[in-house]
Every structure is written in C-alpha cells, then in structure tokens.
C-alpha cells in the first residue's frame, strides 16, 4: 500500500474529526479523496503538521488527527519531545512512514534506513506509540479514536505517488472554513 491508498482507506474515519494535513502530496491527495471543512491543508512550511495539530488539540476539546510524514518529522524532530511533555489526550499523530520524501520525487529518508521513528518517539517520552503496517492503519486509528489517550501511530508503507492536482483554494479560505468547523 502507498500513502494515497492509506488515505483512501481511512477517509471515512477522518471526516468526523479535525485533521491537520502535511504539506505537498498528502494534502493534495486528501483534498482530492475527501475534501472536508474539518481538514486544514498545509500549503507550505514543511515539518509543522504535528506542531499545528498539538497546538490545536491543547487549545480546544475536539479530537485532532495530525497527518505527518517521516521526512517532515525528521525535519522537526524536537516536536516529539514537545508532544511527549505536553500531553493532549484528544491528539493523534499519524506518521505515514514510507521511508521517502514523496512530494519531491521519492528520495530516501533516514527513516527508511537505520532510524526508527517509533523508537525515537518512545525515547522522547511518548507513552502510547503504535507501529503498524499500512493495511492495519484503519483499525489502529479507529481504536485510537475510541480511546482517550494521546497516540502516536507510525504506519509503515511503500513509497509511491499518484497524479493529483494542486490545491488552488486560497489559504485564508482554508483557514476560515476550518476555524468555523472547529467552533461548530
């Protein structure tokens, strides 16, 4: 399974919750598969999906799923220690770990080599870290949503991309629509 297939698989679970989605192809794919006002698409700023998601979860009570990638977590490594030390039980970080920088042409990341993001998250002090295979992501996410515990999911999948259009929605529209959904 590749990332877009995971997103297609979990879209029915995502649509009832606040979702912060990573820059580039992940946001473009989610936008194409199931655009929702509860989705915040990052159009820039690699690495900050988990930080935006944590800030959002700490500021209000609804469940927040931040969809991140292995490359983006590597670029903002400090985030895992901030997450561990500022527990928000309405927060789920879903790292889709395909071992590559998908949006830029599938160059390999260190997460696809010797570095285990699961081990890093545990070492940072995250208490509820689940590594799963791509096919299990839906079931793992469902049980994380049913539990009231902050959860880090590392979903291991194959690298590869599908053709998707860029998001042409204005950023202020994305943000305003999202904030209205947060308040609803």
């Amino acid at each position: 399974m590749i990332r877009s297939e995971i997103l297609r698989d979990i879209a029915p679970l995502l649509c009832d919750h606040l979702v912060v989605c990573n820059i580039g192809l992940p946001s473009q794919e989610l936008h194409m598969i199931d655009d929702q006002p509860t989705n915040f698409y990052m159009l820039g700023t690699m690495g900050l999906s988990s930080s935006i998601g944590l800030g959002l979860a700490l500021a209000q009570d609804k469940k927040v799923i931040a969809i991140d990638g292995d490359g983006s977590v590597l670029t903002n490594f400090g985030t895992l220690s901030t997450i561990a030390n500022n527990c928000a039980d309405n927060f789920i970080l879903l790292i889709i770990d395909n071992g590559s920088y998908g949006s830029t042409g599938d160059q390999p990341t260190y997460a696809g080599k010797k570095t285990s993001l699961t081990a890093v998250a545990l070492a940072c002090g995250c208490e509820n870290v689940i590594e799963c295979q791509a096919e299990e992501t839906g079931a793992v996410l469902k049980s994380a949503l049913e539990g009231d515990k902050m959860t880090i999911i590392v979903s291991k999948c194959k690298s590869g991309n599908i053709k998707v259009p860029v998001i042409i929605m204005d950023p202020v529209v994305i943000r305003d629509r999202f904030m209205t959904a947060v308040k609803a």
Binding site: V20, F40, M42, L43, G44, T45, G47, L48, S49, S50, S51, I52, G53, L54, G55, L56, A57, L58, A59, Q60, N76, G78, T79, S81, T82, N86, P171, V172, I174, R175, F178, M179, V182, K183
Partner: protein, 165 residues
C-alpha cells in the same frame, strides 16, 4: 509592578492564553512570570518555527497566542512567517529580545542584530523597539493592533530596556 509583571498583565488583559518560548537571558524573568501565571498556558518550544506551528494551531483552536524568542530566531523562522503566519493571515505577537545592541558582551550577537530590522522590514512585519523602560506602556496598544490586523508583529526589547528594569 515590575516590567515583567506589566508585560504579563498586558498579555492577560488582551486574552492571550497560549504562550510558547525559546529562552534568552534577557527574557528569563518574563518567562518565569508567564510560567507562574494561571491564566496563561506556557509551552516551551525546542525551536522557534516549531513554536510558531504551535501558535498557529492554538489560534485556530480559539486561543490567542504569543511567542517569546531571541532576534536570532528571525533567521530560523523566515519561511514559517511567510508560508504559515502571513500566508494564512494569522495574528502573532512576537516578544523578542534584541541581542547585539549597545551593552552586548557577545560579538557574535551583533552579526544577527545588524540584519534584524532589515529582515523584519523586508517581510513587512510591523516592528516596535523598546529601548527605555517607559516604552512598555505601548505594549497594550501593540497587542490590540496585532489582533486587529491579523499579522505577525515584532516587539524588539534591547539591553538598555532590560537594564533599566
């Protein structure tokens, strides 16, 4: 009221409830005062761009944010300021210690000080400079201005300002 208490009281009066920080010696007192303030949730960041991500999330969650950092962080956060805070039009007061100004003992700090105002000007970021202790009296209006215009706003606080405090 000490200047640290004055700053924190202005934050509280402007309903700022979510503050992130990366420390600086000059800001140690204000960070301690924020940490002790029950109305404000203080979350230390490892890096200032991470902090801006946290602030963006908190803002969309309905809490007014602020970031406390050193002016060297302008270099770290240029991309985040442009592609997140400005692109999505989010308000963000940035209380910045302006290292490398008169009284600075560390030469390297001057290297970033000479670029600080130029970078802020290049990014059209409204910038205020606190040099005397009385300048803190403008903070309340600056915070109101920030949340009126939905922009990142820089408040540079130099060594002379902190020396008088």
């Amino acid at each position: 009221m000490s200047v640290n208490e004055e700053i924190v009281s202005d934050l509280v009066a402007n309903k700022i409830e979510f503050v992130t920080s990366v420390p600086c010696k000059q800001l140690a007192g204000v960070i301690d005062t924020i940490e002790a303030c029950p109305e404000i949730f203080h979350i230390p960041s490892n890096k200032e761009d991470e902090g801006m991500g946290l602030c963006a999330g908190a803002f969309m969650g309905g809490k007014r944010p602020a970031i406390i950092m050193q002016n060297t962080a302008i270099g770290v956060t240029i991309n985040t300021l442009a592609t997140l805070i400005q692109f999505y039009r989010m308000p963000l007061p940035m209380l910045i210690s302006y290292r490398g100004e008169l009284g600075e003992p560390v030469a390297c700090q001057v290297e970033m000080a000479v670029h600080t105002k130029a970078l802020l000007a290049q990014f059209n970021i409204p910038t205020y400079h606190f040099h005397h202790q009385d300048d803190v009296n403008e903070l309340d209006a600056i915070l109101k201005h920030t949340f009126m215009c939905n922009k990142p706003v820089a408040i540079l606080t130099d060594a002379s300002f902190w020396k008088e405090c």
